[in-house]
């Protein structure tokens, strides 16, 4: 076994523990249910509920709660993804119990004070406005909103959807989240502390189990989206399409292929072609982000406005070539070597281990996943990977998002129909 770990179930919750002596304690809690379930017209509900958990509980005000946590150097964050809500906890060993008691109180009895709701809504609306000032963030937001066409995974919060959310919506939403039998807890730290942590956290979970009934999104047609930033001296580009979920039986094959295509830094074909050979960018990478019901394939880069079309064409060309020609054995060997070498190095801290364990639980990867993962990687060859490529890469379905100036728009228009995306201010 690469590192010590124990798995068990208590009160219905599935738990993984990595006992480790040391000065820090880390815990991650994931519960089924995320932003994709937000009712239409009320996008942002789950994220707002998660962020407001610490904004008042059992009569204690937000300022006192964060003061208590931060006074001991403890960090505790609640957040929401598309399919799950999470709590990330890190503390010095000697202060962990204090922080966990706060986690228990707030998770089990959040007050959602109306004035805090108003403040957080206003802040979220302000943040939506600010995002458009940074081209990188703007491009990522547009991409997130367009990549799963007409599917809940691409519904984003807007000022109007946020403004519709009331306290009763938050309370109802919280009833559905953090049910014990749909919650996964990973802990790393000293064993005596782990026991105490579990007592406190399990005390906060409600009984019950829930389903997550969102259909899997399918890739749509290739499309071009553009957002105009008149004074932009650089063009941000995002490309991608929906892809496989985490339980896809050929996950490792796809992982190795992506390393070769654009995941492997300077070893990747995209980096070699777009940066090293053609000098079009400083950085380009591709990745798969598999989730429970779906996944995402994405490519991220940037270039000069005059090189917009050339860069996009070169990317499409490389993706097509990958589907057409597949990978070569020597490329596969290098990719394997990276994952086999890197995996053990990525388990240095309690946070890294608890993060891995929580994913193993949430995606039901099995207790021996680290060993199985490495053993599968070791055995893969180009012959096994190549038949998988056409099942995970769809060059003719690539959605392209560009944020840039007029010159970039003109270049994009030459490549086909372009849909312009405006920000919330109508610009």
């Amino acid at each position: 076994m690469m590192f010590e770990r124990k798995f068990f179930q208590r009160n219905g919750a599935r738990i993984a523990v990595h006992p480790r002596k040391g000065e820090s304690f880390s815990m991650r809690l994931i519960t089924l249910g995320g932003k994709a379930e937000d009712p239409e017209g009320m996008e942002g509900l789950t994220a707002l509920a998660a962020s407001l958990i610490l904004h008042g509980c059992m009569g204690r005000p937000y300022s006192r709660i964060v003061e208590s946590l931060e006074s001991t150097g403890t960090s505790l964050y609640f957040s929401a993804g598309l399919e799950s809500a999470q709590a990330s906890f890190w503390a010095l060993r000697d202060f962990a119990e204090e922080g966990l008691a706060i986690l228990r109180d707030c998770l089990s009895h959040p007050d959602f004070p109306p004035e805090e709701l108003e403040k957080e809504k206003n802040r979220a609306i302000s943040e939506l406005r600010r995002i458009w000032d940074e081209p990188e963030e703007a491009a990522s937001r547009i991409f997130a909103g367009k990549i799963f066409p007409s599917h809940p995974y691409s519904r984003l919060e807007t000022p109007s959807s946020l403004s519709r959310i009331g306290r009763e919506n938050l309370e109802r939403r919280m009833e559905e989240l953090f049910l014990a039998s749909s919650t996964f807890i990973a802990l790393a730290g000293e064993e005596s502390l782990v026991e105490r942590a579990l007592e406190l956290v399990l005390d906060a979970l409600k009984e019950g189990k829930r389903a997550f009934d969102i259909p899997s999104p399918q890739p749509g047609p290739a499309r071009h989206y553009f957002h105009l930033k008149e004074d932009a001296e650089q063009v941000q580009i995002r490309m991608g399409h929906p892809s496989f979920p985490r339980n896809f039986p050929y996950y490792e094959e796809a992982l190795l292929m992506n390393y070769i295509l654009g995941g492997g830094g300077f070893s990747s074909r995209l980096m070699e072609r777009i940066r090293a050979k053609e000098g079009l960018t400083y950085s380009i990478r591709s990745s798969f982000s598999p989730m429970l019901r779906a996944g995402l394939f994405s490519i991220t880069t940037f270039t000069r406005p005059e090189n917009t079309a050339r860069t996009i064409e070169a990317i499409v060309d490389e993706v097509r070539r990958m589907v057409r020609e597949g990978v070569r054995e020597e490329e596969v060997e290098k990719a394997k070597s990276y994952y086999i070498g890197h995996f053990p190095l990525s388990l240095e801290t309690t946070s890294q281990v608890s993060s891995l364990l929580s994913s193993m639980l949430f995606y039901e990867l099995g207790e021996d996943y680290p060993e199985r993962f490495l053993s599968k990687i070791r055995g893969l060859t180009a012959r096994q990977i190549n038949p998988v490529i056409a099942r995970v890469l769809f060059p003719e379905n690539l959605v392209t998002v560009v944020v840039g100036n007029e010159q970039a728009l003109k270049q994009l228009e030459k490549m086909g129909e372009v849909e312009q995306v405006l920000n919330e201010g109508g610009k």
Binding site: G22, S63, K119, E127, T349
Partner: protein, 410 residues
Amino acid sequence: MEFSYRLEKTAFSSQVLLIPKEAPLVSFQIWVRAGSKYERPGITGISHMLEHMMFKGSENYGPQEHARRIQEMGGEFNAFTAHDKTVYFENIAPEYLEEVIKMEADRFLRPRFDPEEFLREREVVMEERKLRTDNSPYGKAEEELFSLVFQAHPYHWPIIGWSSDIENFNRDVLVEYFNLRYTPENSFFVLAGKIPENALELLEKYFGPWEGKRPKDLPLPEEEEQKGPRRSEMEMQVQAPFVFLGYLAPGYCHRDFPLLSIIDRVLTEGESSRLWQELVHEKGLASKAGGGIYPMADYSLFFFYGVSAAGKDIRTLEEALTQEVERAFLTEKELYKARNQVLAETVSSLERAYYTGLSAGDGYLNCADPSTFVKHLEAIKKAKIEDIMECWERHLNGRRRNTVLIKGKG
């Protein structure tokens, strides 16, 4: 909290800082006294350009081959250029240390600096500059703040360099700069984590022929005491106007530095910090507010920012931010919190060999003492409220204030 180190000297006159600790890896770092402060107008950014060129091949390795080899080991690698230093690092399984040292020695002793690669990489650096600065209102504001706070010292110009300097870089200047600064006396090694027993022998074996003295640098200009507030306003295509405040602060080794770290935590760290509580939560003037210290050798930059909330006036936010920052007072509770925050950060960074190496390296580079970060923590534990308040009043006041305000166009 455990931190211990050993300092050795190689036969080729480099210092080696060894920090053995339990870890699945060893972090191998080469620190060179080659940061932007050693440049001059006309070649600003050359340290950073040189860092890029170090990945472009050496006598026995092709362009990017070094990087590819480290990836095949499953290792992490990179380099970064700062005001006072350029640092190259590899985080790898200990059994690969020999191969890594061999590759590093090849590029430090026998770099290629291929002329065609040079021209291509110059374009890449221009794109990097656009990404971080020209195309980012926050990057632009940060560059402006440095230029405003540092008027005499070379911290005035950006690490990446002015655009026109990057466009004019030529290979000869780069080679000259490399020959002057990349010498064994002007560099040192850091090894942190699971260090193989023969590490020093490996350094002797591959870096043995490395020669060169420490360059005789002229003294750098000192900043004069600021005699009144300075201000810069820029119009940009932003929906959320924002403001930066900057104050000249003493360097990393100065006795005031730990006290300033306390003030930093009180004002900016977390959601219970004063700026967050007052400007974001209570008054709702900002959607974000915070700050920090850029620690450097000769001086530091203490900065704060606020991003205006929708429908709120940026001038009102500026006024409120300035007031919070320059209001010197501190409670025992806040001091207790700041101490624990610094302790938690230190424990957390000591969990990783790489960060341990970086912390120790900074202490050694700037203060000739790898344990400076631990001593700072000790000083923070002992700090008295009246000393912190005195420090606060002396450094963060209207006379020494620098303001950069970014407003929307039209």
